[in-house]
């Protein structure tokens, strides 16, 4: 359940004031009207608010800053004061309506850079389950234009059926064919490119470091098949999830908005919505948590290096070590039950019954911890393992270059979506 929808919480410091710019005249009028018709005497508080809205240009467009926190803290310090200033029901409703208005304004800001992704053909969906999940829907999916020259970021989930042909509809209503470039399977994001464009609208982005747990977050996607995107509101639940790759939100995320943006109340992009599950790297993993209040988005505001790699067509794969292990019954570390052949672990000379004590100096005592640590890396990264050798009984430092899972016998790797012609 998307439980914590009590969004009018003080924690939401970024209930934004930039939208008041448009709204202030009308809202002032409406507030006055509602007070006139409904309440009789206006409270001094309302006069003050109306005064503030009408007369202060400095309010408009001001950024979040310590001042806002001070204001909030002040309110906390003087709880008695609010009781004297209790708003009428109508005023409370007005305040609530303002948040709805803010959501619409924020959505409007990013809508021009949303694209609708259409795919043609692909692995037949008849089998029902693909990549361990229920099959993808028949509908279109969402992407975000991230550069004026036509690079589009979206989620790998949207191509789970490996369509040989992909087109996108940009916000100007034009349909263009798109090329699938690189993909990052550790983040479930990928890049599309459309050609012969130069002035595509791109969203303003906000870095994860500026985002705060508890602030508003809204997911947007076109997957329900309307020309207008669907919104879902929530908060940022946590940062630095899944090996530091994702921020977590309780806004509803689902195939309707995977590949679409998670935005803040000013319409700035916090990240790309993706299905994720810290327990599994499978392409569809995480979809089982759709609309559950547990969702993840990948921040890309300062991911220039990553984006360059994707532009060059690189495929970034999850790190795979290649051991089957269990907690060491005799003490610290993980007892390696089996070293999988043709993996990073076998290349580095790990042996059955060795005990893995540390990865890059971090102690590992259970598989979950090992997975958490490995989640921080990708295939090709090197880590240092501290291993207690079963043969010699000595502690060794072993350099390991993390790899990919070995392919089953007789199977060839398919990096590219299969081409029909």
């Amino acid at each position: 359940m998307t439980g914590a929808k009590r969004r009018l919480a003080a924690g939401n410091r970024d209930i934004d004031i930039c939208f008041w710019n448009d709204a202030k005249i009308e809202m002032t009028q409406r507030l006055c009207d509602s007070l006139d018709s409904r309440r009789g005497p206006r409270t001094p508080w309302m006069f003050a608010l109306v005064f503030v809205i009408v007369l202060s240009p400095s309010l408009v467009g001001s950024q979040e800053e310590p001042a806002s926190n001070r204001g909030d803290a002040e309110a906390r310090r003087n709880p008695g004061e609010e009781k004297n200033e209790t708003l009428s029901q109508a005023e409370l409703f007005r305040a609530m309506s303002l948040t709805s208005r803010a959501f619409r304004e924020a959505a409007k800001r990013i809508e021009p850079s949303l694209v609708t992704i259409e795919s043609y053909g692909g692995v037949s969906a008849v089998q029902g389950r693909i990549g361990g999940i229920r099959s993808q829907g028949e509908g279109n999916t969402t992407g975000v234009m991230i550069s004026p020259d036509g690079f589009i970021m979206t989620s790998t989930f949207n191509f789970i059926q490996q369509p040989p042909v992909i087109s996108v509809i940009t916000s100007d209503g034009r349909r263009r064919f798109a090329k699938l470039l690189g993909r990052d399977d550790t983040r479930k994001i990928c890049l599309l490119k459309i050609d012969n464009v130069s002035d595509m609208p791109v969203p303003e982005m906000v870095d994860e470091s500026e985002a705060e747990v508890g602030q508003w977050a809204m997911s947007i996607g076109v997957g329900y098949g309307d020309t207008s995107p669907a919104l879902s509101i929530g908060i940022i639940s946590a940062k630095n999830r899944i090996g530091g790759r994702a921020i977590q939100t309780d806004a509803n995320l689902s195939p309707a908005n995977y590949g679409g943006p998670l935005i803040d109340s000013q319409g700035r992009m916090l990240g790309i919505c993706v299905p994720m599950n810290p327990q599994s790297q499978a392409i569809g993993a995480g979809v089982e948590w759709y609309d559950s209040g547990i969702g993840f988005a990948i921040p890309v505001a300062n991911a220039d290096r990553l984006i360059e790699r994707l532009k060059s067509g690189e495929r970034i794969l999850p790190a795979f070590l290649g051991i089957q292990s269990a907690a060491n019954p005799a003490g610290d570390g993980l007892l390696i039950n089996r070293v999988v052949p043709k993996t990073a672990a076998s290349d580095a000379g790990l042996k059955d019954k060795d005990i893995l004590l540390e990865v890059n100096g971090e102690a590992v005592n259970d598989m979950l911890r090992l997975r958490q640590i490995l989640n921080k890396f990708e295939s090709g990264d090197s880590v240092e393992l501290t291993v207690l050798r079963s043969e010699s009984g000595k502690q060794d430092a072993v350099q390991v270059k993390l790899g990919v899972p070995p392919l089953p016998e007789g199977e060839e790797e398919q990096l590219e979506p299969p081409k029909i012609r």
């Binding site: 503030v52 204001g71 708003l87 043609y120 053909g121 099959s135 369509p163 919104l231 309707a256 609309d291």
Partner: protein, 343 residues
């Protein structure tokens, strides 16, 4: 200047939170003046007497219970369609815990709602406006008895969310049911749970947006939808007017149309609609369709696969020109094509 202004705004929010939390425990704290524009707690308080719990027959794993709303002072109740209506009797429990046997006045296969009646006076009921209520982004409260958590006189559960989208969409019901193709109000409060169907979806000032629809899977996303059947559809149903969406659907059997295109077939996969061969003298030949063209859309319908093509072809009528978009190399080509009657 800046700081006092900001503090005022944040104080507003703080007051909201204060009001919210204070009324969460005592339901009548703000009862002195509910007014038409009352706040969430009062919206819920005012709506609870208009909510009913509906119990009927279950079938296998399909639940035999639902939620309903009172829509008249003489015991008329709107609820969803479902197997709970198919048993020998349907039981309705009012908010005060009193029980009644209900009779089914009418059911609508398309909007998937039904109208029940109990022999009781019900002074508290929802007025159905015929104009749509609520726009995208507006806060809504869904009141429903999901998982029949509430029993007897216990109030049904309230969940908060926003309107995600007002749309008409293709969606498919879980097995054995007809497709609902009418207008939907998608919300982001989770209502796709057993027993929630028939619950009320209200705006923050207490107007009825619609009732929670039965559980359906969207064919677009292959996910369960959280949605309301809008008040305007309900009002039409109550007045006995046919849904215009249904009424406008053609009923006569038309002759099958043909374009003279043979598509490329390739086993085991869902293929894009690549043209393998163009029949000589056919509409496709006249429109200069070529081998290796990929059909992107016909008459505004996206053709994602060979299967889509077959489905859309069935909707075409002979001698009615349509716009076809094809991919030729990397170009998008627009073609006007007039189907012929299939021989």
């Amino acid at each position: 200047m800046k700081q006092p202004e900001l503090s005022l705004i944040y104080r507003t929010l703080w007051v909201i939170v204060f009001a919210w939390s204070s009324t969460a425990c005592t339901s009548n704290a703000h009862s002195q003046d509910p007014g038409p524009n009352s706040f969430i707690q009062d919206v819920i308080d005012a709506a609870q007497p208009k909510m009913v719990k509906v119990y009927g027959a279950g079938a296998g794993r399909v639940e035999g219970f639902a939620t309903g709303i009172l829509v008249s002072d003489d015991g008329k109740i709107l609820t969803s369609q479902g197997v709970f209506l198919d048993g020998r009797q349907v039981k309705v429990v009012l908010a005060d815990g009193t029980q009644y046997q209900a009779t089914i006045l009418k059911r609508d296969r398309v909007s998937q709602v039904s109208l029940l009646k109990i022999q009781a006076e019900t002074p508290d009921y929802f007025e159905l406006l015929s104009e749509p209520v609520g726009e995208k982004g507006d806060w809504v409260v869904a009141l429903c008895n999901s998982f029949k958590v509430a029993d007897k006189d216990e109030p049904v559960s309230a969940t908060l969310g926003i309107i995600s989208l007002r749309t008409t969409m293709e969606a498919r019901l879980t097995k054995r049911d007809v497709a609902y193709q009418g207008e939907l109000v998608l919300i982001d409060a989770i209502t796709s749970n057993p027993g929630a169907a028939g619950g009320a979806v209200l705006t923050a000032d207490g107007q009825l947006v619609g009732i929670v629809g039965k559980i359906i899977n969207s064919s677009e996303t292959n996910t369960r939808l959280n949605y309301a059947v809008p008040n305007s559809v309900l009002a039409r149903f109550l007045q006995g007017k046919p849904d215009p969406i249904v009424a406008s659907q053609p009923v006569e059997v038309v002759q099958q149309a043909d374009l003279g295109v043979v598509l490329f077939q390739f086993g085991g996969r869902s293929n894009p609609a690549y043209v393998d061969r163009v029949v000589r003298g056919s509409p496709a030949a006249e429109a200069k369709l070529k081998t290796d063209d990929m059909i992107v859309s016909i008459d505004g319908n996206k053709i994602g696969s060979v299967r889509d093509y077959a489905r859309v072809l069935e909707t075409l009528r002979p001698d009615e020109e349509v716009l076809m978009i094809v991919k030729r190399g990397v170009e998008m080509v627009r073609i006007r094509i007039t189907p012929r009657a299939k021989k």
